[in-house]
Amino acid sequence: MALLNRMDWYDLARSTNWTPSYVSDGELFPAELSGDYGLPQGAWEKYDEPYKQTYPEYVKVQREKDAGAYSVKAALERSRIFENADPGWKSVMKAHYGAIARGEYAAASAEARMMRFSPAPGMRNMATLGCLDEIRHGQMQLYFPHEHVSKDRQMDWAFKAYDTNEWAMIAARHFFDDIMMTRDAISVSIMLTFSFETGFTNMQFLGLAADAAEAGDHTFANLISSIQTDESRHAQIGGPALKILIENGKKEEAQRRVDIAVWGAWKLFSVLTGPIMDYYTPLEHRKQSFKEFMEEWIVAQFERALTDMGLELPWYWEQFLADLGETHHGMHLGSYYWRPTVWWNPAAGVTPQERAWLEEKYPGWNDTWGQCWDVIIDNVVDGNMAKAYPETLPYVCNMCQLPILGTPGKKWNVKDYPLEYKGRLYHFGSEVDRWVFQQEPERYAGHLSIVDRFLAGMIQPMDLSGALQYMNIAPGECGDDAHNYAWAEVYRAMRAQRNAG
């Protein structure tokens, strides 16, 4: 029997919709799960995805993708790339797998919500494939690191991270819970696929793949580029939904969801992707600075995606552009200084050559973050290690759950953005984080940040050992300097020379 051509049946199959008779429409598509935008069903039936793929086509293509990525891994398994990799590169992999792998699996459940509850039949079809994509991403990014678990306990965090109260994981969960686990299907399509995936996963997966290829880690480079080919397809789920909302007078609701999700994604990337691109990746393997990647992927491309859609740039865009050159330097300094509380070993990334690179990419770096690093370097050179570790908690934001920070040194601009709500004092890291809270205070008000938990006595004993226990960081897992401070030798030599001269 001859098969029909895809386009002879695709439209009909896609728009085939249920006409419920035993239950009401409201029972079939409850507002909490399907969205409550007051649009007639006919409006959603106009949903037209730009990327059309049938299930048989999907299976064929995915099989080839899997075969490609798995065969590269198998071929390189004995190459000892991991054993011989720079410790900074190992930290890139550990941070990536921990923060991403199980989040992918959670994303499968968000895709499943669109697959079942979206009022748009076309979206249900695309999300079916998207759900399978995310299961694949979860599985691969657990399977690939698994070969390293026996060599390095921190690699176990690829699986373990999401089950812990480690501070960066509280931040990641808070964000993903907000944009994909607790929103209706239409909001998920806007916040997860359009805002987060179109803009930001591109950046993590393509930017990092470029650095991985430079570093000679072809297994990792292939893995994450293979994943990105799925992302760039299912990231297109949100666009047609936005179009329908805008055409039906719901631009304001759509815009607000974009603005909330883009900001949260930015904060998460500033702590995850910023440090690994500008500090952990060995200098000779850096393709572009984090800011350059962001400007290419987010500013140039995502800006166009927004305006093509008929949306405005988020109201905070000027602030965002300014922060591109600042926030992640603080996130790096923070995760380095509080390094016992992360599951990877941060690379300091501040040798004289690296500082010259930072100064070139971020003029003024030496007069700002460099001033803080000068003190840290002195302590390391002097062997004054007690002062090179923290003795209290950084104050974290009640929205992004990340340290509240700014530019230090000669351009000191650190500021708290407080808000009193129902008798409780909340702290935010920016005007935007506070604005997100104010959009729907009851949604966020009950959450306790790690500092709130500490003050509530939930972390015992109230010291580093208690904190590590609370964060599930076992002995042998807590972070320390990636290179065991070998980078400080050059400063020791410089000082000896100065003293001799």
Binding site: W369, C372, K387, Y395, P403, L405, P408, V414, P418, L425
Partner: protein, 88 residues
């Protein structure tokens, strides 16, 4: 006498930090408690300077001998710790 949490925004440092003080502490003692977590860690000491405390956004420092209990802070309120040339 009671433990009281404040948030320190220390001039020249990059991050806000939790600083537990006592309600009976003076502003000079609050500044000293905050300095423990910034000076010599990420901020250089400034010889010839003392540290003053002010509310975020305020122009005036709180009196050096004022006690925490008298300042009327909310728990975890952010205070700025600012370098000032030492009086002669």
């Amino acid at each position: 006498m009671a433990l009281f949490p404040l948030t320190s925004n220390f001039e020249g440092d990059f991050v806000l930090q939790l600083v537990p003080v006592d309600t009976e502490n003076t502003m000079d003692e609050v500044a000293a408690a905050a300095a423990v977590h910034s000076v010599g860690r990420r901020v250089r000491a400034r010889p010839g300077c003392i540290l003053r405390v002010r509310r975020q956004g305020a122009d005036d420092f709180l009196p050096r001998t004022m006690k925490v209990v008298e300042a009327g802070f909310m728990p975890t309120e952010t205070v700025e710790i600012i370098w000032e040339a030492a009086p002669h």
